[in-house]
Symmetry: C2
Subunit: 331 residues, 2 copies
DNA sequence: AAACATTAGGAAACCGATTTCAAAAAAGAC
DNA sequence: GTCTTTTTTGAAATCGGTTTCCTAATGTTT
């Protein structure tokens, strides 16, 4: 492996000077820099990130944590789309991404420890923010941003769930739907916002609301079951599902009941991930802009790391209502 | 930050001894070890992975590379499921996972360089193995394993695609299907195996085969289009799609043509990812065992790194034919 | 009791960078 | 031509571990 010492020897300059030249420091003659860079190129120099991290006390490495209530893993398609965008942006700033994990560590500090061991510069969290493990990380000195986090421990990025839910429900009401059933995800910041939106839409329209019933995110089977059970009881004309994935389960249940979407029941969901485009009819949904979200998360985290930005205000990203085939006016 | 020097000072032993105690080296008195470990615990010692990597010349860090022809990103659900399992296994062996990328680097060595810079111990590849960038990596000194790779540069892990495709087609033939259309993915090792299986099934059954037509992996829109175009021409009684995701597109096309699955056309696909369970009717498929695949990839890579295993034979993982609602006998 | 083998622990070099500080060289001022 | 200022460069310390080699201490054999 070629080191700066090899370059120093061959070029006739000292290692320190080589380092400065390589890093574009002020105070290196441009002719010297040219020579050093040329020698480095010739010899096929590869910097050693670990050596750099050791001395510089940061690693140019970011952690990504998936720690969700029901699935501890990566298999959440919607989050992966955000991560993909996050990666694109951070990569352009020379950061790498490492998956965070508890490893063999037990105890509430597992994630924090992992970050310290690897000297991670910051962390992107997709998490169950009420868990001790995630709380511990958020309270640590390590810069963190959280998707769908609302609170004052770290800055969060979130779609304007309240506003868009309200608008969607108002639209449905306008279309003649009054019996709108909202199957929600498990209780968290996002669910809360959406429920407020749902309630306020009815309030604003001066109509009686039907029901919010707690289901679960990313669980088509549960939504299938609950839809099968609740439809006969409540006779909704429209159903809001917690996400596209769950909506697929729900729609299958409706089909099994002999109902047609959207002729008998209108259906809408949240996220607008790839799943929502594969159903037939296509799903009406509150589309969360994964690109904007990923970019916002990345840029905020980098600002925190590089500029010491310590503002923890929520960053809201505008979502978009996509009215498609799965909803019909019943006037 | 607490270092081994802090522990050395407080415990009265030398730093070298502390290191040995912490790493369970031979030649440290058990009482000494106990004391040192106790002091380390008290002081809240966190090792520094970068310092260790620098001296030890390896990082306990593995790279994962997604470099596919049509999508350079993470949004391939099926691969994510494998990665998830890979992570579970490697984590238990104290390895971390870093996403590989080209970063700003141009040139064919981009990935190799990235590995060297981070001193990655090995790499898991999901790739277009014909691309220069991936080839360069496979030819390097860095231990690599590849999912769906067949060749002699690195060991690959693959489902028994030939065998299971053949069995599936034979089963369909038994069910009375003779006009079986196979929409394949783009040309690669896997596609080749499956096409062989398709051909041999017909050969074995002594029947005339209909057609293999090249489509694309993970592209529901293309499969939708091609199905719409080819169905009227070829009038298949069964269609094999390149993967679940694509099959969804194909089934939508069939529905648009006014055809029912499985009453008018039987449908099957490969992978058996989460997508295949969400369609209605459920998809018959060659299920690839993501857990076994992820485990095989992880264990092989770790053996290569830790034991110098340099056997490059293909590792075949048994797939499973899941006959469900989307196929019907037409006798 | 002498000779030898084994074990425990310490000192120091090393991994490959970064960064500070001082010296040397060049440029500018008078 | 001397003195001051600025620019370049190098030497050396440092980051936090690992590992080799050596000495001292203890245990075993005869």
């Amino acid at each position: 492996m070629i080191t700066i010492y090899d370059i120093a020897e061959k070029s006739g300059f000292a290692a320190g000077t080589v380092s400065k030249a390589l890093n574009n420091y002020y105070g290196v003659n441009s002719e010297t820099k040219r020579k050093i860079l040329e020698v480095a190129r010739q010899m096929g120099y590869t910097p050693n990130a670990n050596a750099r991290a050791l001395k510089a006390r940061h690693s140019y490495n970011l952690g990504v944590l998936f720690y969700l209530r029901d699935s501890l893993d990566l298999t959440q398609h919607f989050f992966i789309e955000i991560l993909n965008e996050f990666k694109r942006v951070t990569e352009a700033h020379d950061y790498d991404i490492t998956m965070l994990s508890k490893g063999k560590d037990l105890g509430a500090e597992a994630f924090v420890k992992h970050c310290r061991i690897r000297q991670l510069d910051g962390v992107l969290i997709f998490g169950d923010y009420s868990s001790d493990l995630v709380q511990e990380l958020m309270r640590s000195e390590i810069p963190c941003v959280g998707f769908d986090y609302l609170g004052n421990l770290i800055p969060g990025v979130m779609s304007d769930n309240y506003e868009k839910t309200k608008q969607l429900v108002l639209k449905l009401i306008e279309m003649g739907h009054e019996r709108i059933l909202f199957l929600t995800g498990e209780d968290n910041f996002v669910t809360e916002e959406r429920k407020r939106g749902y309630a306020d839409a009815f309030r604003q329209a001066g109509k009686e609301r039907l029901a919010c019933v707690r289901a679960c995110y990313s669980n088509p089977d549960l939504c299938n079951e609950m839809t099968a059970k609740l439809y006969p009881e409540l006779r909704p004309t429209a159903i809001l599902f917690p996400d596209d994935f769950s909506a697929i389960g729900g729609m299958n249940a409706l089909r099994q009941l002999g109902l047609s979407v959207p002729d008998d029941v209108s259906v809408a969901s949240f996220d607008g991930s790839i799943f929502s485009q594969l159903t037939s009819p296509r799903l009406t949904c509150v589309y969360q802009d994964v690109k904007k979200i990923g970019t916002a998360l990345a840029e905020k985290l980098i600002r925190m790391i590089e500029e010491g930005d310590d503002n923890k205000d929520l960053i809201t990203v505008e979502a978009e209502i996509r009215m498609t085939e799965s909803c019909r006016s019943i006037r």
